[in-house]
Every structure is written in C-alpha cells, then in structure tokens.
Amino acid sequence: MADQKEEMRDITFRVLRFNPQVDSKPYYDDYTIPVEKGITVLRALNYIKEHVDPTVSFRAFCQAGICGSCGMRINGISKLACTTQVWDELEKCKTPNVIKVEPLRNMPQIKDLIVDMDPMVDKMKKYSNWIESTMPESKMGEKEFLIAEEEFQEYDKATDCILCASCMSECSILRANKEYVAPAILLKSYRMNADSRDGIHEKRMEALVQDHGVWDCTHCYRCQETCVKNIPIMDAIHGVREEALEMRGAKDTSGARHAEAFMDDIQKKGKLVEATLPVRTNGLGWTLTNLLPMAFKMVLKRRTPPPPPLVKPSKGIKKFREEFQEMSEHVKQDQKDRKH
C-alpha cells in the first residue's frame, strides 16, 4: 500500500529581514524553493537556512508544536511555523504561491523573525503568574492536595498555554499600549485564581484591576481566534472580570465602574448613554482634563453622541428588563454556588 507520489511545487517565501547591525529598517527577501506537499513552514525555513541563505534567523526548538519557540506571522496571522502546513497557506496567499513570513508583532524585533520575549516574562512576574501555595514549605511533599475533577476542568484548558505569544502579537490593545497586561498573562492569571491550592488570589487581583490591567480589554477576540492551542482565552478574561467584581465590588476602579455603567444603561434603556459614560467611569475632573480636546474634535466632525435625554429606551424594553432580571438572579446563584 505505497503512498501516492507526493506533489511538488515551487513556492516563494517572502521573509521580513532585519539585522540591527547593518540595516536601518526592515526589508523583505524572497526565497523560492521546491516544496513537497506535507511540509511545514518551519521545515521550509530550515531548508532555506541550510541550502540557500544561512543568515536567515528564526527560533525553533522542539519542532512538534509544544515548546512555542517558532511563533511568527505567516500570511499576516500569528501562529507556529512548525504546525503550519505550507499547502494550507497557499489558499491564503495574496500573491499566488508567495507566502509572507514576518516576526510577531507588539514585541521588539531583535533580528529577522526573532523578537524579544522579555516583556512577557516581566509581566508574568508583575502579575504573580504562579501558585503561592497555601501549604507551608516545611510541610511540602508529605501529602497531596485533594482536588476534584471539576476543579481540574476549570483550568485544564488554560494550562495548555505554551507562551508562544501569538495572542500577544494579535492583541489590538497591546498594539496601542505596550504596558497592557496581555492575553497570555490574563489567561495564566485566571488559571492561578481558579486553583484552590493558591493563597494569593486577592493580591493577584489587586494588580489585575489597576491601569493597563484586565479592564482594558475591548473584547476583539483576536487572541482567542489565533490561539494555536485553541484555548478560549476570552472566556478566561471574562472569568477574571467576573471575579474582580465579585471580590472587589463594582466601585473600586474605573474598569469596574465602566462595567457597572454599562449594566445600568442596558438595564434602563437597552442601549448605551455614551455622552455620560466617561464621567460615570472616571469622574468629572478626569473627563474634563482628558477628553475635552477629543470632545471638540467630535463636535467638529459631527460625531458627538446624543445628549442623555434623547436616548430613549429601546423597543421591547419591558420584556428585556424581565429577562435581564432573571439573568442577574442566575448569575448571583452561580456565584453563591461557587463559594460553597
């Protein structure tokens, strides 16, 4: 039962090159090589390095999709080169048979496809992405914690994360603000806070609700869409937010107040009263000093939201309020159950 003869094709890899010692800015190099069907992008890059240009630089280690070294953007999407089939990429090429290969975004480029991972490690430290055990060190090794399958299930998927940083590369907030906590770090934070062995839930949460923290996420879902391990990262981020409200109430930070203002509007009108949202989130003083210039621009461009009295409740608001009430009850019950 010999296999069919494998298909071959000439394919061009358009690689973003940059060597800070000689280049003032990045540029693309094209490498056209014969590729057999079934080959991964990483194997193609290895071929280029060994046979065409040994100066092309990229990270690769396990080559089996578990170490997370070879995260890069292939045809514009962040993923692992070692688990990406060249043939699958051909359908996504803008120019036929030309596959674009670029470094991950939102992290400083070191050389070619290699970016600096230190910012990620720094954030793991900043947000205590570890278990601080409730068991004293002197007692360790004597007995196991007893952990129910249900608890394991809560963080099982989150522990699949290999820190490849694809989500960080795709994150729209991180693009605007490098200080932002980042999806992988939120995922890990969620995983730690779901673990009954951990004794610093409050301390971790205290850091997460500050500026550049969990409330900065705008739900664009790019992290979840690109996760190479198919981890529902957005669910984890929502999980952290829910827990933040549960643990710290809805008043303690602008993020929480923003969420509460949203809830309020939705409950009352079925839609947002955008004009007063900043005031309710950050207070009048902050709004005047920070948003006045923008408000002027909005007036000039005629993009101002309607004044509050003009925001009328949506159609069917009565029915909606009933459902909203019912949903709230469910959420409260869930929270109670979780505590017991």
């Binding site: 039962m1 010999a2 296999d3 003869k5 494998e6 060597n19 800070p20 010692q21 000689v22 079934g38 991964t40 390095k49 060994e50 046979h51 240009d53 040994p54 100066t55 630089s57 990229f58 990270r59 690769a60 280690f61 396990c62 080559q63 089996a64 999709g65 578990i66 170490c67 997370g68 070294s69 070191i110 050389k111 991972m117 230190d118 490690v121 793991m124 430290k125 205590s128 570890w130 278990i131 068991m135 060190e137 007692k139 360790m140 090794g141 004597e142 196991e144 914690f145 007893l146 952990i147 129910a148 399958e149 394991f152 522990t159 699949d160 290999i162 820190l163 730690m192 673990d195 062995r197």
Partner: protein, 567 residues
C-alpha cells in the same frame, strides 16, 4: 550581580529544580540559571506520558520496592542499585511536592493524583496530566523559579568550563542576543543540559537543540562521560518526522499491528504485549520490518499504532496532543485510522559521570537529569522514569551544590581566556579554508549513526560509523559560518552544536564497538546475548588529545541479583 555562588546550565526540569532547591537550602546564595532557550521552551515540555511514583493511588498494593525492582530489571541490571533506590524512594515525595506547588495532575474520582500503566512497570504508577505532563511540570517549575527570584540568563550558549588544575572556576558562555562572550565565575556549576540523542538527526524525536552541550563541554574539560553507547530508541515515532507518540497511547490500550493485521507483540512479549519495555518493543518492530511484515512508503517502512478501538471520547480527553500531532504531521486522525510509526532515537542513558549526590569527579561541578549518568537507567530506561529522574536528581544536585558551595573559593576567570574564545569563534567565520556546509555534515552524521550505530549493531557496521564520524570531524575543521552578525547568530550556534554532537558521537560509537554483548538498548547482532562476566560494568570516556580514552567502572549492586530479563 556576578560572581554567582551557583550557576546552573540548562533551564529544563532538572536545572530549574536544582536552582529552586539550592535557594531553598540556602536563601543567601546567589543562584543563576543560564539557558540557550527561554526555560519554558526546554525539551522537558515535550515529555508527554508522565512520571512514575509508587503512590498507590491507582493500584493500592504498589510499593517502592516494586518500583526499584522494575527499574533495575528494565535497566538490564546495569543501573546502580543505590541510585535506583534513591530515585524510587524519593518519587512519591517529589510528585506530592509538585502537586503542592501547583502542577495540575490529572485526578481520580477520590480526588487523588491519577496514575496509569506504563511499559515495563508491574503496577500502574505513572502520574500524569493528560498527555502534557512534561509541559505542565516545566511551567510549574519555571513559575516557581520566577517567584523565588532566580536570576535567569536566557539565550546564553555555554562554550567551555574554565578549569584551574582539578577545579572548576566557572563558565564561559555566549550571549546570543549580542554575540558577547561572557565569563561566569562560580563556586559551583551544575550541568542540566538535557540529552544528546539529536545526533541521530532525522531519526530522532529530540528537539533541534538537544546536542548535549553540557556533556561536550564537561568532557572537553576533562570530566569523564559514562555509558554513552546506550541510546534508547522509542518504539513509536511518527513515520515522517520522527516526532514522538507517547507510550501513554499504548498505556491507554493502543495496539501495534503489522501488515498481516497481527498484534505481533505476542511473539516477543506475550505477557506484557505492547507494554513491554522500549528496547524490546523497538527491536520487535524493526524485526517485523526486516522480515517483510511492515508497510512501505516513500518516507521509509513503518508499522501501525492502532487506537481506533479506544473510541473518540477517550482519545480526545486523554491523548489530545497525539491526535493533533498525527493530524498535523501525518494527516491521519487516530480516531479514524491507525497512526504510521517507526522507532526513533529518543533518549540518552549515558551522560556525565555523577554519584548519587549529583557530584561529578571534578570538584565544584555537578550534573543532573538526562545530561548526567548516575546511573538509574542503566542500559535501558523505563517510560515515566526520565521525568522522575530530572526532578529527583535535579533537586539532589541543587541541594548538594548549595551545601558544598561555601567550601569552594570563588575564583576569577581571566580576560585572556575570554579573548581566546572570541578568537576561536571569529576563526570559524573566515572564508579562507572554510567551505563545508554544516547542514550537510549534520545530516550525514545522523544517517551514519542511524545506519551503523542504531538499533541493531555489529562490529563491521560500527567500524564504518567510526570512520564516517572521523571523516566528518575532519570536514568540520573546514566548516563555514556564513553569518558574520553578532546579533542572534543562529548559524554560528548551530555550528557549535554540531561540534558538540560530533565529539559525543565519537564516544557513542567507541562504546558501541567495545561492548561485545547485547544489553538493554545496545543490541549487537554479532554478540546477541548479555555477557555478565565480561560486561556487567559501566564504560567511561575521558577526553585526551581530542579522542575518547575508554575506561570502566563497576556496577553498584544491592539486594537484587542478576537475572535473565524476560517479559
């Protein structure tokens, strides 16, 4: 920051545990970990199956003694019995400790840590987290090291050990980010750089960087290596890539099937069947192929690992990574059809000669994990014992180094030593006299090793292998580094890794040649039986004038007598 009290080379399970334990033993010590990859990338992450410990959670009647016996028998009686005893008696404690600091072990209904059967084990004692056990252990240890404030030097490649007489002064390493050669003076150095099985290149399951850097550096500094000829071939590598399908796949009930549809393991290990020890299962597969009962393909002959009868539910929950890999790299969904597999070089039993406290024969130098040879695995390692070893002996080496660091004085490494290294590396980039391409040499090394020093070995073939390696070493003198950049010069790094592989390959082949017997993973078709009278001993290798000088060491016996090894 410098000098450090302890510098650990390698950020996998053994290195991280060593660093963590050293800081726990003496919090006033300055401990650094130097790693050529970010620690969370280390090859520990690829260990899928699990770690053995006689917790007695799944099988209540399991005991530490049974684990010791299985380990010694599995080693074909080449393991040192005191070392095996340390390994197995520390096992339950270390698994619980990992649980205590956050490793997400899979659980049984009674909420205790789950265990599953593994090859060569008398009871189900392999603790696991789905099929991502190594990955989750590595994450846990890295997290804890960050918590404890271990100082990391990520993406540093170790180049040499700086030695003064019989004592280490510390290390010389290259900062890959800027190409700078830096000295790391230290009271104690711990090598935890992982295995050397990537020298089999295309026929290896290992990460690209598993070139045995620590072993090569220690060896060239005069520290002996031990039992290098013992390289384990894992029975189930994927046909095309050599990537690994965990033994857990057979632990969960997978079948090995030949082209006649037979579960052929009944011919070789009628009792244990697919769960026989790795050396035996690998030989059985190769024999089936040699006798014409394999499948053919352009990517070479192969065998079937059939999981289809396990059902989609079990495969999805217990073996999700395996399913993913089969689909990515072979285009096969194991729920629907059998996975094409063939044996692949997987694990190096040999390594730096260490005692049960992690000490090497050189003062101030320690080693742990796959880089070391204590020896707990002897001639063949049991599945689930390698994660265990890196944890147990990583911790022990960290502890010993921390206790003994104070005894050693800190020494300086001279500017001249650094400059010599710089010159040596610059020499590799000169065009004149340098024209060989490292990629070719590396591939040829792997091919000759797989053909001549692979699963089935014999004198004439090994001689051929030795000649080939010598010729490759000669050609390596003309190897060219084309990239002249100081910044992340992966071309230079891969050339240096190749140099390490060549030096170690020489010891593997030399050992295979002299050991005229068949034991564990080392199978000589011209000497098909175990010869306890002549060869119940360890081989050692000392570097002299660029060549290995062979020696020997007795095996430490204990309460278990030599027996024939059948399954």
């Amino acid at each position: 920051m410098k000098p450090f009290d302890i510098v650990v080379v390698g950020g996998g399970g053994a290195g991280l545990y060593a660093a963590m334990e050293a800081m726990k033993t003496n919090p006033s010590l300055k401990v650094a970990v130097l790693s050529k990859v970010y620690p969370n990338r280390s090859h520990t992450s690829a260990a899928q199956g699990g770690a053995n410990a006689a917790l007695g959670n799944t099988a209540k009647d399991d005991t530490v003694e049974m684990h010791i016996f299985d380990t010694i028998k599995g080693s074909d009686y080449l393991a040192d019995q005191d070392a095996a005893e340390v390994l197995c008696s520390e096992a339950p404690k270390i698994i619980r400790e990992l649980d205590n600091i956050g490793t997400p072990w899979s659980r049984l209904d009674d909420k205790t840590i789950a265990q599953r059967p593994f090859g060569g084990a008398g009871r189900p004692r392999c603790c696991y987290c789905a099929d991502k056990t190594g990955h989750t252990i590595l994450q846990t240890l890295y997290e804890q090291c960050l918590r404890k404030g271990v100082k990391f030097f990520n993406e540093y490649l170790v180049l040499s050990l700086s030695v003064d007489g019989s004592r280490s002064k510390g290390l010389i390493a290259m900062n890959m980010k800027n190409g700078k050669i830096e000295a790391f003076p230290a009271r104690a150095v711990i090598f935890a750089t992982g295995g050397y099985a990537k020298m089999y290149w295309n026929r290896s399951s290992n990460a690209a960087g598993n070139s045995g850097d620590g072993q090569a550096v220690a060896y060239r500094a005069g520290i002996p290596l031990k039992d290098m000829e013992f390289v384990q071939f894992h029975p189930t590598g994927l046909r095309k890539s050599g990537l690994l399908v965990t033994e857990g796949a057979r632990g969960e009930g997978g079948y090995l099937v030949n082209n006649k549809g037979e579960r052929f393991m009944n011919r070789y290990a009628p009792e244990k069947m697919e769960l026989g020890p790795r050396d035996l299962v690998s030989r059985s597969i190769e024999t089936e192929i040699l006798e014409g009962r394999g499948f053919d393909s352009p990517a070479g002959p192969y065998m079937h690992l059939d999981l289809t009868h396990l059902g989609s539910e079990l495969i999805k929950s217990r073996l999700p990574q395996i399913r993913e890999m089969s689909m990515y790299f072979e285009g096969v969904d194991p729920i629907e059809e059998p996975i094409p597999i063939r044996p692949t070089a997987h694990y190096s039993m040999g390594g730096i000669d260490t005692d049960i406290f992690g000490r090497t024969p050189m003062d101030g130098v320690y080693a742990a994990g796959e880089a070391a040879c204590v020896s707990v695995h002897g001639a063949n390692r049991l599945g689930g014992n390698s994660l265990l070893e890196i944890l147990v002996f990583g911790r022990i080496a960290g502890h010993t180094a921390a206790e003994e660091a104070g005894r050693h004085e800190a020494r300086e490494i001279s500017r001249q030593e650094i400059e010599e290294k710089e010159q040596e590396l610059r020499g590799l980039m000169k065009p004149s006299g340098h024209y060989e391409r490292y990629g070719e040499l590396r591939e040829e090394l792997g091919d000759t090793l797989a053909q001549n020093v692979g699963i089935f070995r014999e004198a004439s073939k090994i001689s051929k292998g030795i000649e080939d390696i010598a010729a490759l070493k000669e050609r390596f003198r003309h190897v060219r580094v084309f990239d002249s950049s100081d910044v992340f010069n992966t071309n230079l790094i891969q050339v240096l890794e190749l140099q390490n592989m060549l030096d170690l390959a020489e010891t593997v082949a030399a050992g295979a040649y002299v050991r005229e017997e068949s034991r564990g993973s080392h199978t000589r078709t011209d000497f098909p039986v175990r010869d306890d009278e002549k060869w119940h001993k360890h081989t050692t290798y000392t570097y002299e004038n660029g060549k290995p000088v062979l020696g020997e060491k007795p095996v430490t016996m204990g309460r278990y007598e030599l027996q024939e090894r059948t399954y």
